[in-house]
């Protein structure tokens, strides 16, 4: 899966599943402060990442993911290692 595909998939899910306005989605958007996501939402993001990319996001990994860019990077790195 290409980086572009990862970003498109994540952005699409944020709009469709989490009902986030397309206009606030950008790589440097902070997940909590800009996108309004909270700790419970990260539980659902982990489920989505598992279903879409076959990756298990561990709790300690999630704590270091603060922006969308962090999330894209983390998934991209994991996909490359597979």
């Amino acid at each position: 899966m290409t980086r572009e595909n990862i970003e498109r998939t994540i952005n699409g899910l944020l709009v469709e599943e989490f009902e986030i306005e397309q206009s606030v989605i950008s790589p440097d958007a902070h997940l909590k402060d800009d996108l309004g996501l909270e700790s419970l939402d990260f539980v659902d993001i982990a489920v989505i990442v598992q279903k879409e990319f076959g990756l298990t996001l561990k709790g300690e990994e999630m704590t270091s993911i603060r922006t969308l860019q962090n999330l894209y990077d983390h998934i991209d790195n994991c996909v490359r290692k597979k």
Binding site: F18, E19, E38, L40, D41, D44, A46, V47, Q50, T56
Partner: protein, 406 residues
């Protein structure tokens, strides 16, 4: 002690999704029962059920709220929003005045099943997602609604089997009567999905009259052969009289008596003495005599023994006074955890509009129901005081007496 009045009611049921629709159904004796072919595919002994669609809450509630709500919390959101509007509460009032919530509920099935299925399949609890725990708890309705409506008072769920909704109103009544709260949103909620009554169906307690779904629920009728499961949600907002007057709120009725008891005999077979004691306690609590009751909304679910024993209990307390009796379950089916609250709502609709809804399908009485004054048709009558009976598994009994406000 404070006087406790009802300032708002709301309903989302198989015979109407708001107060106006339900009033028409009650006046016309309309049944909400259908035959569900999917239940037969799953081997249910009876495919009969009340039919109710889930409300569309996207655009009304945010994702976080919706993800945490099972279907009966959605039903309860609808009935509570209607009751809050009826009672003329504003969000500012809830912010500035401690308001409680006590709902009756005793199951939340699909969330539990889905959670177990996912864990068994994936061996990974993180795949369950964030909403499951909040959907699967019995207190799901009260916890969700307290957050949505930003309530800051008493907040819990009553699980009292098929008397849950009635006991919830009783608990709210006590909270206000004794000065612990000024306003409590009470009610009952019941899921209607496929699997929620699978274990109940296993007991063979449901009507098998599948060829005539709308005639299957026939409380007190000689040919009754079991109950029909149903559901939805009902809300009854209780408020101290002082608070209601101060707000200039519409006062629909006054709760004057709550009687409760436990049979202490059998897990499923209802008794006569337990319900009779609860009725007597409620009458004493309200400070009235049996002849002052104008209408009894019976618990009668259409089971052979349950209806027989309730008829005996009513006869033993009321004797020759014979107030008019009807079971609205003849139309709605058995709304179980919700029934004690919904039947108060149905009866207040009747009180407000001076009629008594029919016990449809009551064609021929048996030896015991023949002693009661059961009406199979609408009766145009002023109701000053009614009694609402609710009984449940484990022999839990709850009776409420509600009076027109003067």
């Amino acid at each position: 002690m404070n006087r406790v009045v009802i300032t708002g009611i709301g309903i989302y049921s198989t015979i109407g999704k708001n107060l106006a629709e339900v009033k028409e159904s009650l006046l016309n004796g309309r049944s909400g029962i259908v035959l569900d072919s999917e239940r037969k595919e799953y081997g249910f002994q009876s495919g009969l059920t009340g039919k109710l669609e889930r409300p569309q809450l996207k655009g009304i509630l945010d994702r976080r709220a919706r993800v945490c709500m099972p279907e009966h919390a959605e039903f309860a959101y609808m009935s509570t929003a209607e009751a809050i509007k009826e009672a003329r509460f504003t969000p500012e009032f809830f912010r500035e005045n401690e308001t409680g919530i006590i709902f009756g509920n005793d199951s939340s099935t699909p969330a539990v099943i889905d959670c177990v299925d996912i864990i068994r399949k994936t061996r990974d609890t993180t795949m369950v997602g964030s909403g499951s725990v909040f959907q699967s708890m019995n207190s799901s309705v009260s916890m969700n609604l307290s957050v949505i409506f930003q309530l800051t008072g008493i907040n819990f769920t009553v699980s009292g089997a098929c008397a849950s909704g009635s006991h919830a109103i009783g608990m709210g009544f006590y909270m206000i009567r004794h000065g612990y709260q000024n306003t409590v949103i009470c009610g009952g909620a019941q899921e209607v999905n496929l699997f929620c009554v699978g274990s109940f169906d296993a007991l063979g307690a449901f009507s098998k009259r599948e060829s005539e779904p709308q005639k299957a629920s026939r409380p007190f009728d000689k040919s009754r052969d079991g109950l029909v499961p149903s559901g939805g949600a009902a809300t009854v907002i209780l408020e101290s009289l002082d608070s209601a007057i101060k707000r200039g709120a519409p006062i629909l009725a006054e709760v004057t008596g709550y009687g409760f008891s436990s049979d202490g005999i059998h897990i499923s077979v209802p008794d006569v003495d337990g319900p009779a004691r609860a009725i007597k306690i409620a009458l004493k609590d309200a400070g009235i005599k049996p002849e002052q009751i104008d209408y009894i909304n019976a618990h009668a679910t259409s089971t052979p023994l349950g209806d027989q024993n309730e008829a005996k209990a009513i006869d033993s307390v009321f004797g020759e006074n014979r107030p008019i009796v009807s079971s609205t379950k003849s139309m709605t089916g058995h709304e179980m955890w919700m029934a004690g609250a919904s039947e108060v709502v149905y009866s207040i609709i009747m009180m407000k509009n001076s009629f008594i809804a029919p016990n449809i399908n009551f064609i021929e009485p048996d030896e015991f129901s023949a002693k009661l004054n059961i009406t199979p048709v609408v009766v145009n009558k002023n109701i000053d005081v009614f009694l609402s009976n609710s009984f449940g598994f484990g022999g839990t009994n709850s009776c409420l007496i509600i009076k027109k406000f003067n």
